[in-house]
């Protein structure tokens, strides 16, 4: 069943304005937290909710908050990661565009818990019009006394600002994001120190995804335990899923964690099945970085039971037969899709987006792209498949940030589950269709 907590009012006309948002219960969490709860109590609610980071890593939010260092006289910051750039993911854009005040409300309530007097929303440059929508919401919040000095006479001061990025996938990685926010190239930092100790301008900082911060609102309104009662096991609450690809009803869906994958794909409530009456071939369940799974593995776990849309169920079987919930970027591919060509598309992406700091990633992503190019041009050999496997295994775990893994996993999983297709391309190049133009899409355009 669809369970709407975050997107409950997404279709209410005018919900992007403060008035309508407040008529529908908006900013209750700010009033409740600032007037009746201590920052520690807010943190406790978030901990008991079991909320996990919605950007992709799934790290428990309450735990992350509890790591925040609190040295005397040093400012602390909350930074919202609105750099949504994982291919297949567009949920944060939807949330911010439709219900901007939900994010602003979450920023204020979360900042109160963290003792942050200033927060920044770092939004990708391409979402410029969304930044405008957020800015308008922030202006309204200042006018209503929900931002600024002495919010609601609570004695709590808070300022929230927006910063736009300028096109770089890597800035979704939290330390690269902080570098970018400091006006530098988006090169990830070596951890430790973690941002909780040394983040923005060397100050203790929490970086959370848009959806994570928004989820703090219902958690404070209804209590952490009520939130934890939703979902399944350690996958508590709801998740926004961005559904795209060869399905009848692409879009953003809020689901209670634990919905069967099969129901999500075929039910009219969600994706509505595969378009044009085709059969499904494969699914990338959590954004381009997570392992691709063929139909039989995405629908069922190793015991034969249905696979569920949850952190645990999607990763059941490890990488041998499982994948990850990731960012919730759910890409469905029909029977006519070329897995090799799709992989080339992903690999070109990672090559383009590698920041270049670590040689395994900088060079390896380029080599993988070149080899896939060679195979798609009909010049591949069987040993190229082994070479691809070898390269990805030498990127994984050998880089400063997880872009290395993000680039390696799609390659490993495509070969693991679709090796026959690679072999077919190598042994019978005539089976490669429609590649005349792909090189044009390939060329990295430097304008």
């Amino acid at each position: 069943m669809a369970k709407k907590i975050l997107l409950q009012h997404d279709h209410v006309p005018g919900i992007n304005t403060l008035n309508v948002y407040r008529q529908h219960g908006g900013y209750r969490s700010v009033e409740k937290a600032l007037k009746t709860l201590t920052p520690e109590q807010v943190l406790e609610e978030v901990k008991s909710s079991g909320l996990r980071g919605r950007g992709g890593a799934g790290f428990p939010t309450g735990l992350k908050w509890s790591f925040l260092a609190k040295p005397e006289g040093v400012p602390r910051y909350l930074v919202c990661n609105a750099d949504e750039s994982e291919p297949g993911t567009f949920k944060d854009r939807y949330l911010m565009e439709r219900i901007p005040h939900l994010l602003i409300e979450g920023m204020i309530t979360s900042s109160y818990a963290l003792g942050a007097k200033t927060s920044y929303i770092y939004i990708r440059g391409e979402y410029f019009y969304v930044a405008r929508i957020l800015e308008k919401a922030i202006d309204e919040a200042y006018e209503a006394g929900l931002l600024g000095k002495n919010i609601l006479n609570s004695g709590f001061d808070h300022d929230c600002y927006i910063q736009v990025g300028a096109g770089a996938y890597i800035c979704g990685e939290e330390t690269a994001l902080l570098e970018s926010l400091e006006g530098k190239r988006g090169n990830p930092r070596i951890k430790p120190p973690f941002p909780a100790v040394s983040g923005l301008w060397g100050c203790p900082t929490v970086v959370n995804n848009v959806e994570t911060i928004a989820a703090v609102v219902p958690i404070i309104n209804d209590g952490g335990e009520a939130y934890a009662a939703i979902g399944v096991g350690k996958s508590t609450g709801t998740k926004l899923i961005s559904a795209s690809g060869h399905i009848n009803k692409p879009g953003v869906y809020e689901i209670e964690l634990g919905v069967p994958v099969e129901e999500f794909i075929y039910s009219d409530e969600y994706c509505g099945g595969i378009r044009n009456g085709k059969k499904m071939k494969a699914v990338v369940a959590g954004g381009s970085s997570v392992p691709i799974l063929p139909t039989e593995l995405i629908l069922k776990i190793s015991t034969g039971e249905p696979r569920l849309m949850s952190y645990e169920s999607l990763s059941e079987g490890g990488f041998a037969t499982g994948t990850m919930l990731g960012s919730g970027g759910f890409i469905v591919m029909d029977e006519d899709t070329s897995i090799v060509k799709n992989l080339w598309n992903f690999t070109r992406f990672y090559h383009h987006e590698s920041c270049g700091q670590c040689s395994p990633c900088r060079e390896g992503t380029g080599w993988m792209e070149k080899i896939l190019n060679k195979i798609l041009n009909g010049h591949g050999t069987l040993s190229d498949i082994e070479l691809l496997w070898d390269i990805q295994s030498k990127i994984e775990g050998k880089t400063i940030c997880p872009l290395g893994e993000a680039a390696a996993w799609p390659v490993a999983s495509a070969i693991r589950h679709f090796r026959k297709e690679f072999e077919e391309y190598v042994q019978r190049p005539s089976s490669i269709k429609d590649v005349k133009h792909y090189y044009r899409m390939h060329s990295t355009v430097d304008v």
Binding site: P75, S85, E86, P87, G88, T89, F90, D92, R93, T118, Y120, R124, G125, E126, F128, Y129, A131, R132, E135, K136, Y161, I162, Q163, V164, G165, A166, G167, A168, Y169, S180, L181, E182, G183, K184, R185, G186, W201, S242, A243, S244, G245, P250, V252, V284, S288, I331, M333, N342, N345, F346, F349, E353, C355, H437, R440, M441, S443, V445, D446, V447
Partner: protein, 181 residues
């Protein structure tokens, strides 16, 4: 580059916007305003960042010119060469690719008689292919002047290009209705 004869300066209104952006950061942390200010410069100076345009920003922030150059060259939204009045950016990644982004690029290339990465002779259009624009549910998609054009069909692309023939979409970041980010 400070000796350059063609020194560029922001208009009064853009300068006011720039100062407001700088005020969002604590004392001494004004370099954080670099990326937003480069956006302003790109919009103010014909849609691309010449060395002079970047120098204008680094002077304003009191940083070394190289600090602006190294940032400008890192981010894909900054154009380091002159561009057309309408920069058409077609998403080429994953979901867009699955539902026909290649056909869209091919169609535009044919129609404008240029390849991706090039500008039409009349200086009207520049065609770029870009990575995921976060519009996978409404794919294929292209962006121009900050606006999204979604659920593209080749017919839609045709009417879009016809409409844009007389437009200048380079100044998106200094439009009157621009918010003060």
């Amino acid at each position: 580059m400070s000796e350059n004869k063609s020194k560029l300066t922001f208009s009064e209104s853009t300068l006011a916007t720039a100062k407001k952006i700088i005020s969002h950061y604590p004392e001494g942390k004004h370099k954080s305003a670099l990326i937003p200010l480069l956006h302003l410069a790109q919009a103010e100076f014909d849609g691309w960042l010449s060395p002079e345009a970047m120098d204008c920003v680094s002077e304003l922030l009191n940083i070394q010119p190289i600090e602006a150059y190294e940032v400008a060259s890192f981010y894909s939204m900054f154009n380091l060469k002159p561009v057309g009045k309408c920069v058409i950016e077609v998403c080429r990644t994953s979901s867009c690719w699955l539902v026909g982004a290649e056909d869209v690029v091919r169609h535009i290339e044919k129609k404008l008689n240029i390849h991706a990465g090039e500008t039409t002779k009349d200086g009207m259009f520049t065609l770029k292919t870009v990575e995921c624009l976060g519009s996978c549910g409404t794919a294929p998609v292209l962006q121009c002047g900050g606006d999204y054009y979604e659920n593209l069909t080749l017919q839609k692309v045709d009417s879009l290009l016809d409409k844009m023939k007389s437009e200048d979409k380079r100044r998106v970041y200094t439009k009157d209705e621009m918010i003060q980010i």
